[in-house]
């Protein structure tokens, strides 16, 4: 260990830092590590899609329609002879992008609204909270489908629709956390020092409500990936011929008996990515738990 080689004085004078404690806790959880590894694997694959030695995901081959997995096509081919492996790799981009961007939209809109509601209280809180409750009353996927149908079918619109549907969770979380933090003595100490409201929110409120929001965001990415697959399955997400796991499943359902591999791989992909984000999010939640500080 490196600690043993350090001079004794610095070893005793320097207590473990919060960051290192966080990393240690993450490392101590095999599930979180596995989740992180799965997520990382898919991210790397998606990023490397243009340079991987795979065939064009939209190139059709009429001589190889619905072929079972073989050396030439490790995951088989679909109903018009496109390579399923290649479409899986390129589809990972759509899925991950949809997951990350729609959650980014939800966080960027939801957190400021929630912090405002929690900080100002009164009428601001009443208005924001009632609208949030109205949005939460509609089931997440139904709301996303309705919004996507309204905006028109495309991957971008699907992301916006999913982002808006996921937003109320973040408003509520940020509002509750802000109200909790506002009662802390250190917020009063910020006012005693003479800090302006904006500085108070950005330096005292936001950093202290950040950990639970990060955890919620990680878990919501998993939900958003399923939502994107669902929208693509319904034809409201990624448009053909561009690949996405959801639209691949949509087509594959017609050939379940003749070509089960067409459904197996996209399904497994969704399953693994969602599992990965959930495990990672759970590990994050445990590692960031303030009760251990």
């Amino acid at each position: 260990m490196t600690a043993a080689t350090e001079p004794a004085e610095t070893a005793t004078a320097t207590l473990p830092r919060k960051q290192s404690r966080f990393l240690r806790k993450m490392r101590a959880s095999p599930a979180a590590l596995l989740g992180g590894a799965i997520v990382l694997f898919f991210v790397v694959v998606a990023l490397l899609a243009p340079i991987l030695p795979i065939v064009d995901p939209v190139a059709t081959d009429w001589m190889a329609v619905r072929q079972a997995p073989s050396a030439a096509h490790p995951f088989g081919t679909d109903e018009i002879g496109r390579d399923v492996l290649s479409r899986m790799v390129w589809g990972a981009r759509a899925s991950l992008l949809a997951g990350v961007i729609s959650v980014a939209i939800a966080v960027c809109l939801g957190v400021p609204l929630g912090v405002m509601a929690g900080y100002f209280g009164g009428w601001t809180d009443a208005v924001i909270s009632r609208v949030t409750e109205a949005l939460l009353a509609a089931p997440f996927l139904i709301l996303a489908i309705a919004l996507a149908a309204f905006l028109g079918p495309s991957l971008t619109n699907a992301m916006i629709a999913i982002g808006l549907s996921a937003m109320p969770i973040f408003i509520r979380l940020a509002r509750g956390q802000t109200m909790m933090v506002m009662t802390e003595d250190y917020v009063e100490s910020a006012r005693a020092v003479g800090l302006k409201p904006f500085a108070l929110v950005s330096r005292y409120v936001v950093p202290n409500i950040f950990p639970p929001i990060l955890v919620q965001a990680t878990l919501t990415i998993a939900t958003a990936i399923i939502a994107e697959a669902s929208l693509s399955f319904l034809g409201l997400g990624q448009q053909p011929p561009a690949p996405s796991w959801g639209s691949m499943l949509n087509v594959a359902k017609n050939f379940l008996e003749q070509a089960p591999w067409m459904a197996l791989y996209p399904g497994a992909g969704i399953f693994l990515v969602v599992l990965g984000f959930n495990l990672f999010g759970d590990g994050l939640r445990d590692a960031l738990d303030p009760r251990d500080h």
């Binding site: 250190y186 003479g194 005292y204």
Partner: protein, 363 residues
Amino acid sequence: MTAILAARDLRKDFVTARPIFGTPTVVRAVDGVSLDIEQGETFAIVGESGCGKSTLARLLLRLIEPTSGEVWYDGEDLAHIDKERMRALRRDLQFIFQDPFSSLNPQMTVGALIEEPLRVHGTGPARVRRERVAELLTRVGLRPAHADRYPHEFSGGQRQRIGIARALATGPTVLIGDEPVSALDVSIQAQVVNLLEDLKDEFGLTLVVIAHDLAVIRHMADRVAVMYLGEIVECAPADALYTSPRHPYSETLLAAIPVASYGARRAHTPVEGDPPNPISPPSGCRFHPRCLYATELCRSARPELRTLPGGRQVACHHAETLTLEGLTNAEAARSPAATERFALYARAMAGSAAAPTDKNNDP
């Protein structure tokens, strides 16, 4: 002496329940408090839990808005100036919190916490501010290297020192401590009290200390105000209050101080019952249900805080006629030999203090 901080008829109501119909339920936490805090003194406010002393401390610095009344500092009414001016004045008026575990932002390093008031009030370039942080850390008994650590790496006493350094950063004139030592271990309490006293002399501070325990502030305070149910019932120089209280409630508080000497027994003054519900305070004198000396007058008429000959203020109808018991003078109980040894010790301490010592500034 002139008052540096003065409160006039300060009131604060908290609404505890607001029904859709009917009148809201109100707790009058601070009820018409007037006091003058003089430049350079240590002013203590004592009373049991829930008497409104922490609310009063926050009102004095306008950390909460008063329902009515005025707070005068340097010719300005803090309760009515605009928010921007109040922010600027916070440079002179600082606060030390009770709980050192919740009053420091866990996401900021110690250095950032102490530097923040300097940044807010635009003091100097970054390099100068960092030097000042190092200086303040040394002054409160920590090391400059501690600036890069986070509050959770420190003990309670150390955190309270960080809180004090933060409060001192802008060079305030008035420091208000809301029970600054009550959350600490007894052994640490003395250290922090001594630190506050040293800093008071060094920086020429006016110190206002809130306490629920008369013992802690006995050797610290110049004057003491005793609060009961949102009102000041007695305000007197500390020595006078401790040896001869004039309000029955002060006597009760003094009787609660444990005596640490062999065979010490005081004629005990029993306190009966809990403090009344502040939502519906008793008629007349608010202390009468628990007072040993209450008469018919106390039950009907509310005593005003009035000034007795000699300058002490008491809110009791019978202040002139009651003979109340304070703390007996501990010095008198000592044997002649012990008195001599104490004198020798005092001389030795005076001698060593005169010699230049620099033990607080070890690198």
